[in-house]
């Protein structure tokens, strides 16, 4: 019984930990299916966590904050999309730049807005309410994330738009001659993917932590990238991947808090587990991922 309630508690924690990774990963899946890779997820998470907090605090409404996070994702996605889709630029370089920019902006912004270089607590009035359960608070965004995952799954596997996205990644010429505006689809996919990452960022500052720090994302954007590979571009598997990671992450902390365990295993090794488990899962079960044929390649008609 004791074990069971503990388990449920870890589960509830994992449900939070899962959200930013899953949102960013599922967004990335949309973009990658259309042929655009965006490794700037970490940057998007950071920037939208920041803009989300600023707007929520200024207006006193967490919903405005979430919206601001999404709009931020939109803006950065549009920049990345413009460079990689319309200017036929290098998608990887752009993503690396976004990460660096994001890391700088949040650190700079903390000082510029609140004069605190380290951390800022988002006031309670600007934070998302939670659903209380006996095992901890569950966020509405967690539920929204589940909905989004299934919607995106439906989108990419059961709708015409999804088909268009897929074929733009697989064989953009074929899409083009079929009368599809490849650039528009890719741009749309990139932008909507980035919007999901933006939501994930705002979730971190307004819902999960209620705090803004310059290292808020703590590598979750990169974990999301790994999750995308893990998922083989299937949103449901991305959810699973995000959950596995969130679960082991929470479990590791949990276990390392338990009395006695540290006698046998140093805490540093316990904290390695989510990373090792993910790696083993990929190496053992998933293996070679198949990406769209033209992933990362700009499309040019002539």
């Amino acid at each position: 019984m004791e074990f069971f309630t503990s388990f449920l508690r870890i589960l509830v924690i994992s449900l939070n930990a899962m959200v930013p990774i899953t949102l960013a990963a599922v967004g990335e899946i949309i973009g990658e299916r259309s042929g655009v890779i965006d490794i700037g997820l970490e940057g998007i998470l950071l920037i939208s966590a920041f803009t989300g907090a600023v707007s929520a605090q200024a207006t006193g409404s967490p919903y405005v904050g979430l919206l601001a996070g999404i709009v931020t994702g939109f803006a950065i996605g549009a920049l990345h999309g413009f460079i990689s889709v319309y200017l036929k630029g290098d998608q990887v370089i752009s993503g690396v730049g976004i990460n660096l920019f994001g890391g700088g902006l949040i650190a700079f912004g903390l000082i510029a807005v609140w004069q605190t270089p380290g951390h800022h607590i988002v006031p309670a009035s600007a934070r998302m309410p939670k659903i209380d359960t006996p095992f901890g608070g569950i966020s509405y965004i967690t539920i929204l994330t589940l909905v989004i995952v299934f919607l995106v799954y439906y989108l990419v596997s059961n709708t015409k738009l999804g088909l268009k996205i897929n074929i733009c990644g697989e064989h953009p010429r074929a899409a083009d001659v079929a009368g599809i505006n490849v650039e528009r689809i890719r741009f749309f996919a990139t932008v909507s993917g980035a919007m999901l990452a933006g939501l994930g960022g705002a979730f971190m500052s307004l819902d999960w932590f209620g705090v803004l720090t310059k290292e808020l994302a703590a590598g979750r954007g990169f974990i999301a990238l790994a999750t995308v590979v893990f998922s083989k571009l299937n949103p449901l598997l991305a959810l699973l991947g995000g959950f596995i990671f969130g679960f082991f992450d929470s479990l590791g902390v949990w276990v390392s808090s338990a009395a006695g365990v540290k006698k046998y295993i140093p805490w540093q090794f316990i904290l390695m587990t989510p990373y090792i488990v993910t790696l083993l899962a990929v190496a053992g079960a998933i293996g070679r991922a198949r990406f769209p044929d033209k992933l990362g390649e700009p499309y040019q008609r002539e």
């Binding site: 015409k160 088909l163 268009k164 897929n166 697989e170 064989h171 010429r173 009368g179």
Partner: protein, 515 residues
């Protein structure tokens, strides 16, 4: 659907599409125009063939007519009205559909999914079953047999082609442009396609048929326009011309085919392929128990309609593809499934078909590509350190001897070389050692006449000095004039070996089609 006003007869058909003064240059790269003031039209109920050699500009013109490319100058009229086609979508909306030379279907998706893509249903509805039944009905109507629920990747080349046509027909075009639709088809499939095309023309479609094969022109066209190096050489009704005239228009000059060669006397076997089986990526058999012997001082031609296992045979011999069963003996040694390097070290040179894709590394320099397969050997490297001056000398020699036009050995990326120059470079690179065995795939594809005769002379010289050459080519004239013996492939097998003295084109054609 086009009007099926059969009473009007094809000669008096309305002009569906007319292009005037079309010119095309590509940004940056081209100083000359790829298309120069082209006039072209197609009428209701006719098959109008565009004939021209490789690189004549047929595809570019077709792309412009269908809205895929923009033109640098010129006007396009549809049903007499001037239109601006900025995308394939525009083309389709004006009733121009094109079946491209490369497959424009996404392999992981079904035929119906590929077709649905272009329909203008809402983004969220997914009327697959509607599309499937409509595709099915169309396929019945035009005799284009394809199961719309099958993944494109699982279809044969012929089926893919039919799926492409169905995809375009779905949009109810009036003009249908087919860019070399027969190149991947078996003769029977090609025959069937011609029947379909004729039927469609009779229904009132205007059909633009692109090819560089004379027989096809005579068989299917009502009218023919000959393109050469971006210019129209002539336009005529098919009744008013003959093969000879068309050939003359299409080519610069008649190529004199008189190649002196030593008499071939059967010497020791250099390479033998024994009952080889090769399976494709989806478990389909691609080589079906092929056997052949290649002797010292012999050119063995391999003829066949493309897609009948020639590429796979070459890849199996050069170690690029796994052999499931059977054995490969090179110079008396069993080299079955040896690595490409081991095979190369047995003295096998390889001039690959996909020259840009595997024959060179495009972003690397000309100098580096000149030793792509020899860099390990003296004098190009010494204890793993590359010897730049030796490589420079070597590259200069090849450039000199093979007339390669390359701006700079160490500064130019190989990607900026023209296709023909890349081929010359590969010829030079692969032949300079006088290799024991040469595996050559379409060695003169894309070369101009002078380079072709140079290459042919080179091959004869190599043969005379004892090299064994396996020559795969789609050009029957080339195969017949160069080879000592000719092996014909059909459906993954060698179906006949003929001595070239006794071979004639029509007979070979018969064997190639499995007759």
């Amino acid at each position: 659907m086009p009007k099926t006003d059969t009473a009007e007869g094809k000669d008096t058909g309305r002009t569906l599409l007319r292009a005037e003064g079309i010119s095309k240059g590509f940004p940056g790269v081209w100083e000359h125009l790829i298309l120069n003031e082209i006039d072209f039209d197609v009428k209701e109920g006719e098959v109008h063939t565009l004939l021209g050699e490789n690189g004549a500009g047929k595809t570019v013109l077709a792309n412009i007519l269908s809205g895929f490319y923009g033109s640098t100058a010129g006007k396009i009229y549809i049903q007499g009205e001037e239109v601006e086609l900025n995308s394939p979508q525009d083309g389709l909306e004006h009733g121009v559909g094109m079946i491209h030379q490369e497959v424009m279907l996404a392999k992981p998706f079904t035929v119906a999914e590929n077709v649905t893509l272009g329909t203008d249903d809402s983004d969220f509805s997914y009327p697959l079953d509607k599309v499937e039944s409509r595709v099915y009905r169309l396929s019945q109507k035009y005799g284009l047999e394809v199961d719309p629920t099958v993944r494109v990747g699982d279809l044969s080349a012929g089926e893919q082609q039919r799926a492409e046509i169905l995809k375009v027909l779905y949009h109810e075009p009036q003009v249908l442009i087919l860019d070399e639709p027969t190149s991947l088809l078996t003769p029977q499939e090609a025959q069937q396609l011609f029947k379909v095309l004729r039927g469609m023309a009779d229904e009132g479609f205007g059909i633009v048929f692109i090819t560089h094969k004379m027989e096809e022109v005579m068989e299917v066209s009502d009218r023919v326009t000959v393109l050469k190096l971006g210019k129209v050489m002539g336009e005529t009704d098919i009744e008013e011309t003959d093969e000879e005239e068309l050939t003359e228009m299409m080519l610069d000059e008649k190529i004199p085919i008189h190649l002196e060669r030593k008499e071939f006397k059967k010497q020791s076997t250099s390479l033998s392929v024994e009952d080889i089986y090769v399976t494709g990526p989806r478990g389909n058999t691609q080589l079906n128990g092929v056997s052949l012997d290649l002797h010292e001082g012999e050119i063995l031609g391999v003829a066949g309609v493309s897609g009948n296992g020639q590429s796979e045979l070459i890849e199996a011999i050069t170690g690029l593809r796994e052999i499931d069963e059977g054995s490969l003996i090179i110079e008396g040694e069993d080299m079955t499934n040896a690595s490409p390097r081991e095979i190369q070290e047995k003295g096998v040179a390889h001039m690959p078909e996909k020259r840009r894709e595997i024959g060179v590394v495009e972003p690397m320099t000309v100098g580096e590509n000149m030793v792509l397969r020899d860099y390990r050997d003296s004098p190009f490297s010494w204890h793993s350190v590359l010897n730049r001056s030796a490589i420079t000398n070597h590259a200069e020699e090849i450039i000199e001897e093979f007339d390669v036009i390359a701006p700079d050995i160490w500064k130019s990326e190989t990607r900026i070389l023209s296709g023909g120059n890349i081929q010359r470079m590969i010829l030079g690179r692969e032949s300079w050692r006088d290799p024991e065995i040469i595996i050559a795939s379409h060695p003169t594809h894309g070369l101009d006449r002078r380079a072709v005769s140079h290459t042919w002379e080179l091959f004869i010289d190599l043969r005379d000095s004892g090299s064994a050459i396996l020559l795969v080519s789609e050009d029957l004239d080339e195969v017949i004039s160069l080879s000592d013996r000719i092996a014909v492939m059909f459906e993954g097998n060698v179906v006949g070996i003929v001595d070239s003295d006794e071979a004639d084109k029509s007979e070979l054609g018969m064997i190639m089609t499995g007759a």
